[in-house]
């Protein structure tokens, strides 16, 4: 077998390779299930049946899809600009903190409070990403490290707040804030946790980002900066400016997702692991699968939503540890990254 570089891979091959990578990931994860003493087929059957065949399962998938959609769409933009934002988790939590802070402490007319919460979430999430982008532009700090580390800072800021100044009046030993007022809570589809306003925002924003990337001058600048910073400088595009704007968008979307989670599901601030099931990290896979196309996140986010919701079922029905889903996601990301080689090269069989 030989690999022949192909400078212009056909789109169809990108699709097949991605599907192939997912299939390999399913095989490997299946082996993990088998090692755990569980039939892989049984496990996958449970996951699919419990998520896609009834409304309750489907609503669980949708609930997970909402943050993945928002965060993933923002990340596609960052990846297109060659800004490897691994800190969406922290940006999401900072968004939740900002939204929660507005809900708890800023007296506003009821009609204004939800928009203000979203706005605050976008601003603080964006600022959190901006910090890393600024460090990179100014001091050359690697954004992978800074965004990753800022995740922990965000987590501990949240823990500090709900443990100290923002700790609820009537929550005894629990680490909660007070509950948001009813008008500070997002409506959900009846009988589910699907906070549909956020879902709607996610769909609209994913499409809007696609337009931004392909049809606007800012999107053009962003792609030039990502593909060739040297050419950007040469053409007089300010690379720092483009990276900072991009960071605000990608962090802002993560912050928005954070507000959605607390205002739509939990109605209060609580521990980081309860607000986000690692959405910021799973969204990296969502964005990678979408190959930098924000609109494609509309397909890849539900896919990862199925896997996250399916993981819940594995825990409940088959008594597996929930963290098996992290194994699943990790294997999938590895397979996707490894499959890049088959996108960039053609496989030829035989010698020569």
């Amino acid at each position: 077998m030989r690999l022949v570089p192909d400078p212009n891979p056909p789109r169809l091959r990108v699709l097949w390779v991605s599907l192939g990578a997912i299939a390999v990931a399913l095989l490997i994860a299946g082996a993990v299930f088998a090692a755990y003493g569980l039939s892989p087929l049984e496990a996958y059957r449970t996951m699919l049946q419990g998520t896609l065949t009834d409304w309750k399962g489907l609503s669980e998938v949708l609930r997970r899809t909402i943050p993945l959609l928002l965060v993933g769409a923002g990340l596609t933009l960052a990846f297109r600009a060659q800004f490897f934002n691994i800190g969406a988790e922290g940006q999401l939590l900072m968004g939740a903190i900002a939204g929660g802070g507005v809900a708890l402490f800023l007296p506003l007319p009821p009609l204004l409070s939800l928009p203000a919460m979203f706005l605050a979430g976008v601003l603080l999430g964006g600022a959190w990403a901006l910090l890393a982008a600024w460090l990179r532009s100014r001091l050359g700090v690697n954004e992978i490290l800074s965004t990753l580390m800022l995740n922990y800072v965000a987590q501990y800021v949240l823990i500090y707040l709900i443990n100290g100044p923002w700790k609820g009046q009537n929550v005894r030993g629990f680490l909660y804030s007070d509950e948001f007022a009813p008008y500070e809570q997002l409506p959900t589809l009846p009988g589910t946790l699907v906070h549909w306003p956020t879902l709607l925002l996610g769909v609209v924003l994913a499409l809007a980002l696609q337009v931004l990337l392909t049809r606007t001058t800012l999107g053009y600048e962003l792609r030039v900066v990502g593909e060739n910073p040297g050419a950007a400088r040469y053409a007089g595009i300010s690379v720092p400016r483009v990276v900072l704007v991009m960071a605000i968008i990608t962090g802002g979307l993560a912050g928005l997702a954070g507000v959605g989670e607390v205002a739509g599901i939990h109605h209060r601030l609580l521990e980081p692991a309860q607000i986000s099931l690692g959405y910021g990290f799973t969204a990296v896979i969502v964005a990678w699968l979408a190959r930098g196309n924000p609109a494609l996140v509309l397909v890849t986010a539900p896919l990862m939503g199925i896997i996250l919701a399916g993981g819940d079922l594995l825990k409940i029905s088959l008594n597996m540890p929930f963290r098996v889903i992290d194994v699943f996601s990790g294997v999938m990301l590895l397979c996707l990254i490894a499959s890049e080689i088959f996108v960039r090269n053609r496989v030829r069989w035989g010698r020569r």
């Binding site: 400078p7 212009n8 049809r215 606007t216 001058t217 800012l218 999107g219 053009y220 600048e221 792609r223 030039v224 593909e227 060739n228 040297g230 050419a231 400088r233 040469y234 053409a235 007089g236 595009i237 010698r351 020569r352």
Partner: protein, 507 residues
């Protein structure tokens, strides 16, 4: 009559859609330099890959000293005595010369140390001076190339293939390489010299084989070859080497540079008190060995680098360090590195053509891009500049070097270019594309633009420029009228020597 060491007969290699080598016959005698001449894409590289065991031919036979062989891999080629000196040296920068050369042949214990006497002995016998203890990243391209030659010799190569060896060298380094090649030849080695530069082929080779579209279209002793004849064989039509305009129409001063000082990216002084002026319709050549301030000069003029001192003005207006505003003022920049700076290789031709003017109508309507305008404009420019691309939506990285350069020219000269900064504008281009690029640049001077031509190719400067200046360690000598200096005198200035008084004379 020297015996034949290597013989190719009927070598054919097909790739999907192209026949890269079509029944190629080639014969290499002991102790001769055979030049393999051809344009980009003529099949030279494929033939080299076959000889070095990277590809196997679909048809045909290779004989070494009369014995038929199947070259299976580069290691096999080396065992058969065929060595390759690659175009871009493949060395470990942080290691010493000896450590690099010990790779693959050194003993287990102290491999590098044991190499040193061998290296010194070989270096002495072929004039390949190199310090075995120097770290490779500190060496010049010419020295790195010598290491590659040494490597092939250490492996016992009798046939040396030099793949476009002069493309990374300055004229002086190229001269040194030719001396080494002559030494090797007189020691009985056989050399295959791959090039598309006619002057070099005529200077060094004994025989020339010309490839065009995979076929050998001519084979002749150098004694019988002339430049026009080789060019015609190579391109398939007659080529004009005449670039000079009968009478340059020079207008008033366009660019005025006074007392310019600038530092390099490493913070060292790169330009020292540089002053010159450029008139409308004039081509000013800037010669010099790479790294003597040419890059910094062009960067300052194109707005990519700040000047520390000095005044710059274009038609009386001061130049600002902002590439976008300078382009609006009429400063076009054909950069040295067309892949890393001049284009965005994964983006389509139409978007690359828009890099300068994407903010302005008709390409932009407010915040949004007008894709139809992109397409329309790209189609017009592709036609005007005869850019060979399947469509405007093809990524530029799929185009040949000449066509990428034409994309850059089309974009840079689209506006009302007044000052054209052309850096190595024909580097790596074949004869046909070079001719086109030169014509385009000269065409612009008729319309009143001035060209600052930075090139390491003296022939190019002498053919195009009206005046020539030489940069050495950041100081500018000249400009001089082109006719007032000989090649040798320019060469002297490039090495920092001053001219004997009474010669040349500032113009």
């Amino acid at each position: 009559m020297a015996s034949t060491i290597l013989q190719l007969s009927g070598i054919t290699k097909r790739f999907p859609g192209v026949v890269a080598n079509d029944r190629v016959d080639l014969e290499l005698k002991e102790g001769e330099v055979l030049a393999l001449l051809g344009e980009n894409g003529a099949g030279k590289s494929t033939l080299v890959s076959i000889l070095y065991g990277l590809y196997r031919p679909d048809e045909g036979e290779i004989r070494i000293e009369g014995q038929p062989v199947q070259i299976a891999s580069p290691a096999h080629a080396l065992r058969l005595g065929i060595g390759l000196v690659p175009q871009h040296p493949l060395l470990v920068g942080r290691h010493t010369v000896a450590e690099n050369l010990a790779l693959g042949v050194g003993r287990f214990w102290f491999p590098a140390q044991r190499m040193v006497p061998l290296i010194e002995q070989l270096a002495r016998s072929y004039g390949l001076e190199v310090d075995p203890h120097a770290r490779v990243h500190q060496l010049s391209p010419g020295e790195k190339q010598r290491i590659e030659i040494l490597r092939a010799l250490l492996r016992g190569a009798r046939v040396l293939i030099l793949d476009e060896p002069t493309s990374v060298l300055t004229p002086l380094e190229a001269e040194a390489l030719f001396r080494v090649m002559r030494e090797l030849r007189s020691a009985g080695k056989s050399l295959i010299f791959i090039s598309h530069k006619l002057d070099e082929v005529l200077a060094i080779a004994d025989r020339v084989s010309v490839l065009r579209r995979g076929k050998v279209v001519g084979e002749l002793p150098v004694a019988e070859a002339t430049k026009p004849r080789l060019a015609e064989l190579m391109v398939g039509r007659s080529v004009s080497f005449e670039r000079k305009r009968a009478e340059p129409r020079l207008g008033p001063a366009l660019l005025e540079v006074r007392g310019l000082q600038a530092r390099s990216s490493r913070g060292l002084p790169a330009l020292r008190d540089v002053s010159f002026s450029l008139r409308q319709g004039e081509v000013l050549g800037v010669a010099g060995v790479a790294g003597n301030g040419q890059s910094e000069l062009v960067e300052v003029l194109s707005g990519l680098r700040r000047a520390e001192a000095g005044t710059l003005s274009l038609e009386g207006k001061p130049l600002v360090p902002d590439p976008a505003r300078l382009f609006e003022m009429g400063v076009a920049h054909i950069p040295e590195d067309r892949i890393r700076m001049g284009t965005v290789p994964p983006m389509p031709v139409s978007e690359n053509l828009a890099l300068r003017e994407y903010r302005k109508p008709p390409l932009a309507r407010g915040f949004f891009r007008d894709l139809a305008a992109y397409e329309q404009r790209a189609k017009a420019q592709v036609q005007q500049y005869a850019i060979a691309t399947p469509s405007p939506s093809t990524p530029t990285r799929l185009l040949s070097g000449g066509n990428i350069q034409k994309v850059i020219l089309a974009r840079e000269l689209a506006g009302s270019a007044r000052l054209i900064l052309a850096v190595h504008p024909t580097y790596g281009l074949d004869v046909g594309a070079t001719e086109q690029v030169h014509q385009i640049l000269l065409e612009k001077t008729y319309q009143g633009a001035g060209v600052l031509l930075v090139s390491e190719d003296l022939d190019e400067i002498l053919a195009l420029a009206d005046r020539v200046a030489v940069l050495y360690q950041g100081r500018l000598q000249g400009p001089f009228e082109v006719g007032s200096l000989t090649r040798e005198e320019i060469g002297l200035l490039m090495t920092g020597s001053s001219l004997p008084t009474g010669q040349g004379g500032a113009a």
